[in-house]
Symmetry: C2
DNA sequence: GTCTATAGGAGGATAGAC
DNA sequence: GTCTATCCTCCTATAGAC
């Protein structure tokens, strides 16, 4: 008995995690598709294939569902930052990250949250996993930004915080979806275009 | 009797228009503050100071309220474009327009609509005033973009449509509100920063 | 933890008197 | 056209059986 119990517990815990992963995956996709307000908990339940009440056993509110999706994305971002080649220049790293986030967005894997909803903001701010991830990512990017400025490749006149926000904003840039709807360019071309306007600007160099 | 009737009618019509202007003004402000989904018709009615049912005598739906606000903004944009000095270069005109839209946004006068909501999209698409305004504005900006490219001040490698979208996107750039919340810079400084990153880019020139 | 069924409430829209 | 009062749908969240 004592020898089987740990295995059983571990198995159940694994099932639990697998289900929660499936939930987060659905939430992530639906958030990317329709946004927080338009996404309903019924849809999430239907998409996962479980009853709505079961969802609420895993996550106490719709806001927490969204927060879990954001934590998931943040973890992926951290992993991506970690995996960047150490011999890249800081400027290239910044380019890579922006490119990666835009790829996520175009692939329908970037949750889009209203920056205005207050109950959601409160939940996010109270979520330690999310805030820690956000802080770490911001610190890393901030360090690269300052290094790139010191090296002279990034415009020294721009406050690092403004640069950071500008990079973050590419993850929810409406230009991406507009160009995608226009259907004139491939995802790669769209990313290259927006990446260019972001770093090189609209004006001729 | 016959002599007073036209005056009475005109007066009543003027009152009607004045009230609708007040409604649109409230809608505009609330849309800028909270966005379409978070704004409730009850709030609009309370803000205007009339009953909700009265609102529905003027506008048949919440979507039409938002559309009216967008038409209003579009008219202001058309007037602004019209008033730009004819001797300015096309590049300067584009800069001026973007600067103006960002000023509107920072002043809380730029309605923010979700690009995803389908019923709203349908109403907007079906609104001739809005579509006509959008077309005219786009045509004007498009002409300036192509002229600026021909003249060499705007990057020739960028498709004009991508440039147009990029300029439009400044009207709802989250970087503006983030920097405003940070409270480190004045509105003018924020606008100058974003304008610079938009046209000159993040990389050193 | 999963289900069915339902509470509870917000919010868009309307009825009908004046 | 303005009001009060109400309808009705949708959606978050929960109760309670298994």
């Amino acid at each position: 008995m004592a020898s089987t119990t740990p295995i059983k517990v571990s198995f159940k815990a694994q099932m639990l995690l697998a289900r929660e992963d499936a939930i987060i995956k659905s939430v992530n996709r639906l958030l990317a598709e329709k946004g927080f307000e338009a996404m309903t908990v019924d849809e999430v339940a239907a998409d996962v294939g479980i009853a709505k009440a079961s969802l609420y056993k895993h996550f106490p509110s719709k806001e927490d569902l969204a927060a879990a999706a954001m934590v998931s994305v943040m973890r992926r971002a951290q992993a991506y930052l970690e995996a960047l080649p150490a011999d890249s220049s800081c400027m290239d790293k910044l380019r890579d990250v922006v490119q990666w986030t835009m790829g996520l967005k175009l692939a329908g894997e970037m949750p889009s949250l209203p920056s205005q909803n207050s109950s959601l903001r409160a939940t996010l701010m109270g979520n330690k996993d999310y805030m820690d991830g956000l802080m770490e990512v911001s610190d890393r990017l901030g360090a690269w930004i300052e290094a790139a400025q010191a090296q002279g490749s990034l415009n020294r006149k721009l406050p690092p915080i403004a640069v950071l926000y500008t990079l973050y904003a590419r993850a929810c840039d409406p230009v991406l979806e507009f160009l995608k709807i226009g259907d004139l360019y491939s995802n790669e071309e769209i990313i290259a275009l927006v990446l260019s306007t972001c770093f090189e600007g609209l004006a001729t160099r």
